[in-house]
Symmetry: C2
Subunit: 326 residues, 2 copies
């Protein structure tokens, strides 16, 4: 039985769902809805951006068998696709407003589309972001999502100063450690399977941490390509260097159990963390500490060049830096 | 010799070009530049949308060997990719501001990237739109572009009234007639080759017509999937029907020379026109006529359902309606 045609597909799986279930009222500022003048269905979506805010926008493509296994559960694929995009908004301290979906599919298959659309709607609802438009095309499975948010004071990567303390949120290495289990190369214990699920398909964009550090942090980004590479971006953009004390690095339990003695390397360069890395001037440390956030100080910015790693006071050389596609 | 890595690729082909050559000052309102707070290179681009305007945004994916031949000249592919997206802004009467590029490539090949980036920059410059961010991933060749513009009074598809006159801009059928020549199925005379180039790789987004009709039109859209299907969208959104006098249809010379007696059918359902279809209330006809625009009245809206075609007063039944992917 052939699946629905292109326009029916959009109507059945996306327009209807996002007009009824998906419309969020839970956005932190509550203005996601009011700002949408016209959603899915015309040449363009029409938007009335919130007054006095700066818009932040980011786009990411997930390609089947590059960014996720083509055979993975579509609900989980949708969750991952939207969450990794939302993480870029969190990295900028922007509150979610709208997103678009450009979906390339080999076939119009209701058994795939229904759970995918449900995963997308549930994730969107959870983070108060609304689907305003998109495109469906025929071709190799690929998902491009562009998210837009609004911020008062964006956290850029070029604002760090020498002496600033470097922090990361939560733990690192779980995303990369999850990969061999996701791909079926390693079986994984029930506990590892559960941690893999959470890290790979349900990464938590760090909006709460971003909001809390907003007035203290001098620079920030989300760690998607591995801490070393991404901290390198802060260094480069700020014209500085950094020194890390590796014994302070919060390594994810999954990285430790899967990677063993390679856990540290995984946490440094593995990628897919979607945690925040940010810098804080000395004078804000006390105020930040009082907030009792799930963050760890791991080093300091300096006037040198590049990122230097020390483990218990001894220089430590990682192998490789961060993930690149080419 | 391996091509550049992901970050070098973005820097070399996109950031640098769009910071130097590509920055447009030619946007009709001149605010494209001023509104970009931060372009390529952070988690998100930061934007300061023009005050008092409504934002219009649209996304389109072009998949290799579905929307263009994979072996086509990359300069032309870039031109087509950006122009078909700009056409959606024109269909809404929005002035171009920014765009993002999500580029999926099988390999990092400078021989492909250089002309592609040049085509993108030249097209962007011509239409006063600026690249603010994107994503490059490895996978089957595919290009997703999201354009954003600003409008005072958007031309939606749901504003037509019964009795309104239906117009199209320029001529129809060239895009669809070009396809067999683009694909190499037909050789084509030198003149046909030239018309094919223009129609397929350099379609002209109808901004000038959109601006001119802005205060007279009751509804509008850009014709991308074929006149019958797209006019059907105006009918559906406006809760109306339409009657077309097919002998008035402005058929492109290329459609006539390539398609012969199938030219009319091609102009009605072929797709890839990127012309405007719009409706105008009776009382504005005289004022509109005085503007001497390249537009043709082809029928009227009515209170029935669906689009009815008449050729010299006799009912005419097209075969099929419009292009759909599934």
């Amino acid at each position: 039985m052939p699946g629905p045609g292109e326009f029916e597909l959009i109507r059945e799986y996306f327009s209807s769902r996002f007009q009824t279930e998906g419309q969020p009222n839970s956005g932190a500022q509550g203005y996601a809805n009011q700002s949408v003048v016209l959603g899915i269905g015309d040449d363009c979506a029409l938007l009335n951006p919130p007054t006095g805010k700066i818009l932040a926008t980011s786009v990411d493509t997930l390609v089947a068998d590059v960014h996720f296994p083509a055979s993975a559960d579509p609900f989980r694929i949708a969750s991952r696709a939207l969450r990794v995009n939302l993480s870029d908004l969190a990295g900028m301290n922007a509150e979610p407003l709208w997103f678009t979906l450009a979906l390339t599919l080999p076939e119009s298959n209701p058994d795939w589309l229904e759970p995918f659309a449900r995963g997308l709607a549930e994730t969107a609802h959870a983070y108060g972001i609304t689907l305003i438009g998109g495109d469906t095309t025929k071709g190799p499975l690929s998902i491009t999502i562009q998210v837009t948010g609004a911020c008062d004071v964006p956290l850029r990567r070029d604002g760090a100063s020498a002496g600033d303390h470097i922090f990361v949120s939560n733990t690192l290495g779980a995303g990369a450690a999850a990969l061999p289990i996701v791909l079926g190369d390693i079986e994984g214990s029930p506990e590892q399977q559960q941690q893999t699920e959470a890290a790979y398909y349900f990464p938590e964009p760090q909006f709460a941490v971003a909001r809390a550090i907003g007035k203290y942090a001098s620079a920030a980004l989300d760690i998607s390509d591995g801490l070393l590479g991404d901290l390198g971006h802060i260094c480069e953009a700020s014209g500085l260097g950094a020194e890390l004390d590796l014994e302070r690095l919060p390594i994810a339990p999954l990285a430790q159990s899967v990677k063993g003695e390679r856990a540290l390397q995984t946490a440094l360069t593995g990628g897919d963390d979607y945690q925040l890395c940010f810098t804080v001037p000395e004078q804000h440390l006390r105020a930040l500490g009082a907030l009792q956030l799930p963050i760890t100080a791991i080093g300091r910015m300096n006037t040198e060049s590049g990122v230097r790693c020390r483990l218990h006071g001894v220089d430590w050389q990682p192998s490789g830096t961060s993930f690149q596609h080419f």
